[in-house]
């Protein structure tokens, strides 16, 4: 078994209302100096050893993300 991490973020040009709401709230709570916040998703997958990188890429691209609005990184955390 291997552990695979997929991190998904809204593309830079795409509006991220969730991150924006957090960024706007921070100064009200007395935390200054935070310019912007963007919120994404983090997936952890336990996969069999015979699942290759190409398959992982397909899982991410076709299911975990919508490539129209999101960008993503697939990483094997344990080999």
């Amino acid at each position: 078994m291997a552990r695979v991490v997929v991190d998904v973020m809204p593309k830079p040009e795409i509006l991220d209302p969730q991150g924006q709401a957090v960024a706007n709230a921070l100064p009200r709570l007395g935390f200054t100096g935070v310019g912007s916040v963007r919120q994404g998703k983090h997936f952890e997958l336990e996969v069999d050893d015979d699942v290759d990188d190409a398959t992982l890429a397909r899982i991410a691209e076709t299911f975990l993300v919508n490539p129209v609005i999101e960008e993503w990184v697939v990483r094997r955390v344990t080999p």
Binding site: A21, V22, A25
Partner: protein, 224 residues
């Protein structure tokens, strides 16, 4: 006349409805603004439903830091009755006035339906007008309505009779022990996911069962 405050945060949706329910019960509804640390002399407060701050981050997580909430927390500590409905319940949980948290519904969808509830505790500030074990029909509408708390908390709530409302004839969202609403240890603060303010007339709701919450609090502020 008894004055009951209704808070509006950016993104609050059911404030007009809560105010209508308060008026229908015979009290004076007073609008409270999130940015004002001022309860305008009200006798009780309703934190209504909606999507304060878009429910971004977590439901209620941003609203609970609003200036008005400091006053609500202070008031509650002195026994002022507070009712949190839906997003209001989530805010009260985030603020630590009520135990537990609300998570995404079991089927991950928004659920809007007419829901049967059983009133399990008629000793609170908001439920004294109900008969014990009364079944009431009230709209439920949310996407994050699954009540959850750690086992010791749930056991304590059950043991102390602090589960106020329980889903009956089917659990709509996977809430632990079918819990729809709970109260503070002193019974003055009540939170529930379903919307009693949308059950005040059969013209616009499934029943008028919800009105008794708002009538109950009239007794509570007279006899604290």
């Amino acid at each position: 006349m008894t004055k009951i405050g209704v808070i509006t945060f950016p993104g609050t949706l059911d404030d007009a409805d809560a105010a209508r329910a308060v008026s229908s019960a015979g009290a004076d509804a007073v609008a409270l603004w999130h940015a004002d640390a001022d309860l305008r002399g009200v006798d009780a407060v309703v934190v209504p439903g909606g999507f304060s701050y878009g429910d971004y981050l977590r439901c209620g997580a941003i609203a609970r830091f609003a200036p008005v909430m400091g006053e609500v927390i202070a008031g509650a500590s002195k026994g002022m009755p507070v009712l949190g409905i839906c997003n209001g319940f989530q805010i009260l949980c985030e603020a630590g006035l009520l135990p537990g948290a609300l998570l995404r519904n079991a089927k991950l969808h928004f659920v809007c339906r007419d829901q049967w509830l059983r009133v399990d505790n008629t000793e609170t500030a908001w439920t004294s007008r109900f008969d014990r074990d009364a079944e009431i029909l009230v709209p439920l509408k949310n996407i994050d309505g699954r009540y959850i708390a750690d086992k010791s908390t749930v056991d304590r709530l059950e043991g102390e009779g602090r589960v106020v409302f329980r889903y009956v004839h089917g659990n709509p969202n996977g809430s632990v022990n079918d819990i729809a609403g709970v109260c503070s240890a002193n019974g003055r603060v009540v939170g529930l996911m379903p919307h009693p303010e949308h059950a005040i007339a059969t013209l616009t709701g499934p029943s008028d069962d919800g009105l008794d919450l708002f009538r109950s609090v009239l007794d509570a502020v007279v006899n604290p």
